[in-house]
């Protein structure tokens, strides 16, 4: 058993070294502000931007917008992203790390709108204000655990969806025979997710206002392949529809693929959401008629601005809607 003893010795040395290290410093999260100020220098205003999905162009644009704004207003911005949009535990680690680094405010788009609440409570305890951008922290869970968010800065998904759907209805109306009622299909995102529900409601509101009707509606869970299957099935049952409203661009691409098989491309109005590159390509080719730009860069910039304001003692509106833009083939 000698080897076991030797091994434990190694472990024990390591444990002691860590323990000794841990006992030397006593951190007070959030002291970075006052601490540096007390030392005579100007108070350091460090802000953390914590986002998700580093490989998604949407969040890359958000980071860029935040960095430019930080440079403009002269604050130090610490950005940390996680690779997978679903890695909630890693993002929680990122929040803890930012608190331990002593940032003054946190700007965050949560990977898990429910799961992040428990970790953010620590920021609240340390009096570090939380600016929520893009994806809303679950309000019910936040209320239950007593988490207060300084502000929510996000796109108005309802208005965005309504805008793009209204544009689609307008296009359809132009080519519609007199006295005929427009009929459209709807491809929904993952049911129950806030963004998906808001977009669905926006679509329905616009369709109702135009006096059209939704012939059929299915969830394709944001997915291109699923959208293709769902569109195929819905088109078989409703061959007379004039438009397809898709809750994101990836599903719009699936709808286009389904229409290609039926030689309907260009004859049927297809709109999406998000303004991704592939959708812009499709619009150039005339396969798709419109999408929505959510301005992630502006979201990042507004997040930094809000953090600076609240650190400077200002107050914030509980919600700041970020304007969304309609993108048509003329824009691309």
């Amino acid at each position: 058993m000698r080897y076991v003893r030797g091994a434990w010795l190694g472990a024990a040395i390591l444990g002691l070294a860590l323990a000794a290290a841990g006992c030397q410093g006593d951190s007070q999260p959030g002291e970075g502000e006052g601490g540096a100020g007390a030392a005579g220098g100007p108070p350091r205003r460090r802000i953390a931007l914590i986002y998700k999905a580093t490989t998604n162009p949407f969040f890359q644009a958000m980071e860029k917008g935040a960095r430019e704004k930080a440079k403009e207003v002269g604050c130090a911005l610490e950005v940390v992203g996680i690779e997978s949009e679903s890695d909630a535990d890693k993002q929680a680690d990122a929040v803890r790390i930012m608190l331990n680094r002593g940032v003054g405010a946190i700007v965050i788009t949560p990977a898990s709108s429910v799961g992040i609440v428990a970790t953010l409570l620590r920021a609240q305890e340390a009096k570090v204000p939380i600016i929520n951008i893009d994806n809303r922290i679950d309000p019910a869970e936040a209320r239950k655990q007593g988490l207060r968010v300084a502000t929510f800065i996000g796109p108005d998904n309802f208005q965005g969806a309504k805008k793009v759907a209204a544009y689609a209805c307008e296009l359809i109306q132009k080519n519609l025979a007199e006295g005929k009622k427009g009929r459209v299909l709807v491809l929904r995102g993952i049911d129950g997710v806030a963004n998906a529900e808001a977009r669905k409601a926006g679509f329905e509101a616009a369709v109702k206002e135009a006096g059209f009707e939704v012939a059929d509606s299915q969830s394709a869970e944001w997915d291109t392949a699923k959208a293709q299957t769902a569109t195929g099935a819905m088109l078989s049952a409703n061959p007379d529809v004039q438009g397809i409203l898709c809750a994101n661009d990836k599903m719009a691409l699936g709808a286009i693929a389904a229409c290609k098989g039926r030689d309907l491309v260009g004859k049927i109005v297809i709109v999406g959401y998000d303004n991704i590159d592939l959708a812009r390509e499709a619009m150039k080719r005339g396969e798709m008629q419109a999408t929505i730009e959510q301005n992630p860069a502006m979201m990042g910039a507004l997040g930094v601005e809000a953090a600076m304001k609240v650190l400077g003692g200002g107050t914030l509106e509980p919600e700041t809607p970020v304007p969304v833009q309609l993108i048509t083939p003329d824009d691309v």
């Binding site: 076991v4 030397q24 909630a88 331990n100 428990a118």
Partner: protein
């Protein structure tokens, strides 16, 4: 022969301990340089050290269970996804019955049942464990999503704030200690080594090889269940995508810790140090805000270099 083996294992632990301390020191220096104030580096603040331990917990627990499977000559790829299954079962049952005890029991039972499933299939039908656990990894992913209804679900019960920080650490330390005693001090532990070293010889010696193998998978499943519990403690949710890809981190921790993939050799102490290295590295890179693509490159390099260091030292 025992003498030679003892020296190898002890020297490995020393190499690993040095690597781990070096990593901590490296990040501390980086942190101090970045701060530039000449004060105690934030990386070594007490709060941060506690958070490092917390962030290592899930991987350490998984790796302890995996050590048994790998020493026994198998592999378990399902553990990452079993975290999600156990975690979701815990929350769903807690919400349905209003009793956290039922939820915790259900979560752990899900892990144990999955381990039993893995082990029984491997042993009874002689299917390689790589294949069985590859399949059960996918099944677990699907079942977790079904049970959660495709969404991250909130839990009615919540761990008190103090426990959120310290329970994961306590559970991981307990798993490690129990695992060490079980592996190094019991008859069962010796049987695991024997089965992994040479199953035929073990059988001729009267060891019930199949039973020992199944038990290693059950232990691995139980550990995944515990990790699912820890995930709930830390985040308070039932997340059907929890633990995605963590099996690879856990396998890396076990291998860095000196356990042979061929079976028959290894130790929990090594696994602990391996998990610590992996954990400190992942946390430290996030702390220094290294871009995620480079995090992968660095973590992969450290895995290889650590094993290489040990190899060089051994041939000396």
């Amino acid at each position: 022969m025992p003498d030679l083996r003892s020296r190898i294992t002890a020297s490995r632990a020393l190499v690993l301990a040095v690597v781990a301390v070096a990593l901590v020191a490296f990040f501390a220096v980086c942190s101090a340089v970045e701060e530039g104030t000449g004060e105690w580096p934030r990386f070594l603040y007490r709060e941060n050290v506690i958070d490092i331990a917390g962030s290592c917990a899930i991987n350490l627990i998984l790796a302890v269970g995996l050590t048994f499977v790998i020493i026994g000559g198998g592999i378990d790829l399902s553990v990452g996804r079993l975290i999600a299954l156990a975690n979701v079962m815990l929350v769903v049952l807690t919400n349905a019955t209003g009793s956290l005890a039922v939820g915790v029991a259900g979560g752990l039972a899900a892990g144990v049942a999955a381990g039993l499933f893995n082990g029984a299939l491997c042993v009874r039908f002689r299917i390689p464990s790589f294949i069985v656990t590859l399949g059960s990894m996918m099944i677990a992913r699907g079942l977790a999503l079904v049970a959660a209804g495709g969404l991250t679900i909130a839990c009615q019960a919540r761990a008190p704030v103090v426990l959120q920080r310290f329970l994961p650490i306590a559970v991981s330390v307990a798993a490690m200690l129990v695992g060490h005693v079980l592996l190094a001090r019991t008859v069962f532990g010796r049987h695991v080594f024997a089965v992994g070293g040479n199953a035929e010889t073990a059988r001729l010696c009267g060891i019930r090889v199949g039973r020992v193998r199944v038990l290693t998978f059950v232990l691995s499943g139980l550990c995944a269940g515990l990790a699912g519990l820890v995930f709930w403690v830390r985040g308070g949710t039932g997340d059907p995508l929890a633990g995605d890809g963590l099996e690879l981190y856990a396998i890396a921790a076990v291998i860095v810790g000196g356990t042979s993939l061929a079976g028959g050799r290894g130790s929990i102490v090594g696994t602990f140090l391996g998990a610590l290295i992996m954990g400190v590295l992942a946390y430290g890179l996030l702390f220094m805000r290294v871009p995620t693509p480079w995090q992968w490159v660095i973590i992969g390099s450290v895995v290889i270099v650590t094993v290489l260091l040990d190899r060089l030292k051994r041939t000396e």
